[in-house]
Point group: D2
Chain length 364, copies 4
């Protein structure tokens, strides 16, 4: 398979079109604008629709409509736009409508800046909209994964009839790397539940209204069952040199690239350091944490945010192991040296085998 | 002090006006409509402004404006409207603007229904908007507290220059109880940072834009310091018969009223059951959990949602004690018998003194 | 050519598609809803786009965008929606962008009702938006003309680079008549001025901003020259038995059908009555009025509005002949008897040959 | 009475407050921004409300609401904003709600520029919204008249229960002149038809919906009767040296100031030139035209637009006298010399006493 060099934001759209996506409604915002730009360029060539809506509120409701009609549909934005979509996302989850939303995170809150951050974690992973719902969240860390996880996102969205968020950042969005598109072009057929304006689909109803309490509760239990199934079946994470790791560095997206470099260098120093990279943020890869907790002594969560994934890591471990935390924000990314220094300091404080010099001392 | 009989939604507004609030911008939605209605009635009598905006997006931006001008200002809505406000709330937190938002939660996600639920917990407690910010969240459980916590909300909003959410539900909003307004009417003066259109305030700037990464990070660290200060100083919870409790029932809002009845009855059976009622949902009353964990054997979180506060309870305990979970949703509220049955079943499974009959057996 | 039986509102869309129109953005409103419905059904089959926007304000701005990209594009609405489009229409006229807008007029002002009226005449003919501009306005009076004038509208819109309004009413919109589509399907190519996102069109600029007064005035004179050219070349009207008419009944749209019946009956009585039916409301068919003024003694304007076309008729005649006025409004349409009675009364007051009995008297 | 030096845009607001106006909802746009600015400054001092809305669409609907509640209320904007208000204005006229709208006209169509123009004439005078309605339109030509006609506008709005437009331009809006406020401060009481949220006003209904055709027609005839009454009673114009004028220059607003200078100079040359300045554009001062037509030989309409008032002048004269036309646009204003030259050329072509040199020739 021939690889093409391209930006992450472009890879999303090319992959989406191969996945059968034929509609993109959105509103430009740095650093997500290239996704919309690529959609404007390529969607019409594939016989699809690109439309820059009046606002993100308008976009997400167009997506609601297109999804109701059985079209594979997506949008992209960054934090402020994702905030404006929260009502619509909640409605889509409530009405069990699939769609893919690429959040190319910028610095925040408020206007913030266009630096790479991960401050939207709570918003997309816990559900910034109202009511009892979840969105599945995938976190690519390379241009190749921008393509691969977009394809997966459409699959999961349809399988679970639920919005799926691709949570990336400006680094991944704008860096250029070679990409291979493994998938063959999908001709998406409208699912049986879609409303097509035809005689056969006249009985189909897309709605999130349940006036009767028991019916509403049954619906919510149905959604919960779906989410639990996803928690069982869909967690994805990458482990890197974790087999014997005493210190497990945890990070997603751009951060994971730094952590691997740190782990490599730490191992050269004799420190048993591994990397756990969550690929699904929801469902969160708890099993990986719980398995690694048996051997590892400490986990270090590194985030470009104020301790958001940190909570999920702690929930996954439930006190089984300590979780340390290192964070940079505002567009600043921790340097490889900064993390390494943190890891070394941590190792020095550990009473155990994690510190090679001490171990040696013990052996002597 | 003479008490007046009134609805919870009305108590919010009367208390707000006593607290010096002079502007209300909102859009009606069941079960929050009476808050707007009371504001329409009483705000003009106090020389204040009531305005029904075009949408919740418009409302929250009017609130941004009024707050910038140093006015004590509030809104109310329910889930869907709160979703539409997420962008504005994030901007206000970023620009350090105080305001009070009453979320009278309805069933969700999507349209849902008008039943009492607590499904907006993640949205308001974790921050449904974008970026690294928090809103302080207060959870009244009586009409009196609707008044008292509204007054507190305005105080905290100003002290922390941050939006504060009053998270209630239709039960508390629409039930009538006697209320005493302890506070004397406050004449709110615009703070020194406000933009008043005067010569002296010309230098004041309300903004959430920090293009420089280091400045943005410094701003975020400043916000974090504020939130940590709130976590130290502002946690509030009510404990009820927890001194010797082996089973601690945890619930907020309307749920806590049921839990107290359950605990009373369980104690009549000889079960050592107490109630922990978080009043602040953020900052979450961790110290209460941690202190009670020393004596209690198990915690039971009861929610009208799908395990949202449950996460905070688990984070607070960090594995120190097991946390059981009981939930009803969709407008259904667990009956006192349902919870009691759950507690009894739990007590039977416990190996210890929590089960009176077993203890007796042991004594024999 | 085989004729098909269909509604006027459907004929618009079928004709539009044959005319190469490939995009419809709109918002439903009675009695224009069937136009949108037909667009939703047929536009995708032709590889085009149908989108129901958030509002008419959103629609017209989408049309601005599509037109800028060289697409033949249209919308439809009724009075309230047309009002919301006035800003966008003015911008399109200023930026010289073609589009077709079908106004299926309802009763007004305000909400009014869904009855057939012609009260939007001033709005669409004089220009309800701001600044010095005009829209060309065509007034079909049969289902066949709904098709034919739609085709003409697209032609004129392109020729004059200006919005063209098709002004009809609920009668014409919803009645069914046989229609023949004379035109062959047009493959519309984007014009040279369009902005296509390509290298070659990068220099193209679509704008209505002219900060410099002289440049603005030159632009306005350029627009005026266009409008004057249209006034010379594009006026269209139907005359019916006007050769010897002493009383000329003037009416457009559904009214003209009544007037023809009236004229036939009046002639059976010996009254020399003809009908002048403006087909273009702007440019207004002044030459027809001026030519007929040489022989006719009086003109009678019959409108479903409060004397709006009446002004144009008077301006066309400039005092050369008296203009009488008959109007019904609110959804009421003057009956054939009502108009005939008016004509007979008028004839009795005339000193001249228009009254056959008097003429006879003179002959005796 | 002491005069104060101020801008025209400021005079509007000071006069409005004296007239009892207590609410201003708007959105800034050059050259109307100072009106909003003055409202922001002074309205709160008078216990009133100033609110910058999300858009002009939002503003006009707030005005609908405030007016329904019996408050004297106003807004200001320029062309693009006035376009966005057309739906709301039509609704207010339909529901018979008073309000005052200051249109400080800029160049157009589209974005245009901020130069002084009169291109919104058709829009505000003929009714740019939908359906059979009119707005009364007043055209100040000095800062003093900005004040006086604002007071009159509120009076007329209430008397006719209809929106009244103050149509000015950036010159009048931004020039400074001394102003005397003749009026005493009015304490406006809500009229009997207002909806106040009280028991007594519960039966009041503000609406523009008339589903029944006959009721709608009766309502429209009621509106027409109102407009005809205004046409009889409310026309206002200034005449200047028209008693013996053979050439009558017609212009409103800033143009009239130029015309007076032209007339003075032309008279110094011996040309009998006078000025007719319409103060009410609707109702149009037909009686003045008709009376002057008895003595004058020709009328010259001078506009900053493409022949809009020209039509009303021709309608008023109905062919009785020729109407010449001179226009500048785009922010350009005809110089005094330019008009004088036009007048001299016209006089030379006239066969009569209007040309002094010819008269002399005759005398010789």
């Amino acid at each position: 398979m021939r690889k093409q060099l391209m930006k992450g934001n472009e890879a999303i759209i090319k992959s989406a079109i191969l996945a059968g996506c034929r509609a993109f409604y959105g509103y430009p915002i740095t650093p997500a604008t290239e996704v919309a730009e690529a959609a404007a360029r390529y969607m019409p060539l594939a016989g699809g629709v690109f439309l820059q809506a009046e606002s993100e509120v308008a976009s997400i409701n167009m997506i609601y409509g297109a999804s109701s009609a059985g079209v594979r549909v997506m949008t992209s934005s960054s934090g402020p736009g994702i905030s404006l979509m929260q009502e619509g996302i909640s409605y889509m989850a409530g009405a069990e409508l699939p769609c893919v939303i690429a959040d190319i995170v910028r610095g925040g809150p408020g206007l913030g800046n266009i630096g790479a951050e991960q401050g939207d974690y709570h918003q997309v992973v816990k559900g910034g909209g109202h009511g009892n719902y979840r969105t599945l969240v995938l976190a690519p860390y390379s241009v190749q994964e921008m393509a691969d996880l977009t394809a997966l996102a459409f699959e999961l969205a349809d399988r679970y009839r639920n919005p799926v968020v691709l949570m990336a950042d400006g680094f991944i969005g704008q860096m250029m790397e070679p990409v291979a598109f493994a998938q063959t072009a999908i001709q998406h057929e409208p699912p049986a539940w879609a409303v097509l304006g035809t005689e056969e689909t006249r009985g189909n109803l897309i709605n999130s209204l349940f006036l009767n309490f028991d019916e509403m509760e049954a619906h919510l239990n149905h959604l919960e069952a779906k989410y639990h199934r996803a928690e069982e079946l869909e967690t994805r994470a990458e482990e890197w040199q974790t087999e014997d790791a005493e210190i497990v560095l945890v990070g997603y997206g751009i951060v994971a690239r730094i952590l691997k470099a740190v782990a490599a260098e730490a191992r050269a120093d004799g420190l048993k350091v591994g990397v756990l990279r969550p690929i699904t943020l929801y469902p969160f890869p708890k099993p990986h944490f719980q398995r690694l907790a048996k051997s590892a002594k400490v986990f270090v969560v590194v985030e470009l945010s104020n301790g958001q994934m940190l909570e999920d890591a702690r929930l996954a471990l439930n006190g089984a192991r300590p979780v340390e935390f290192l964070s940079r924000m505002g567009g600043n990314v921790p340097s490889h040296q900064e993390v390494l220094k943190f890891v070394r300091a941590l190792a020095r404080k550990m009473p155990s085998a994690a510190r090679p010099e001490e171990r040696q001392a013990v052996h002597v």
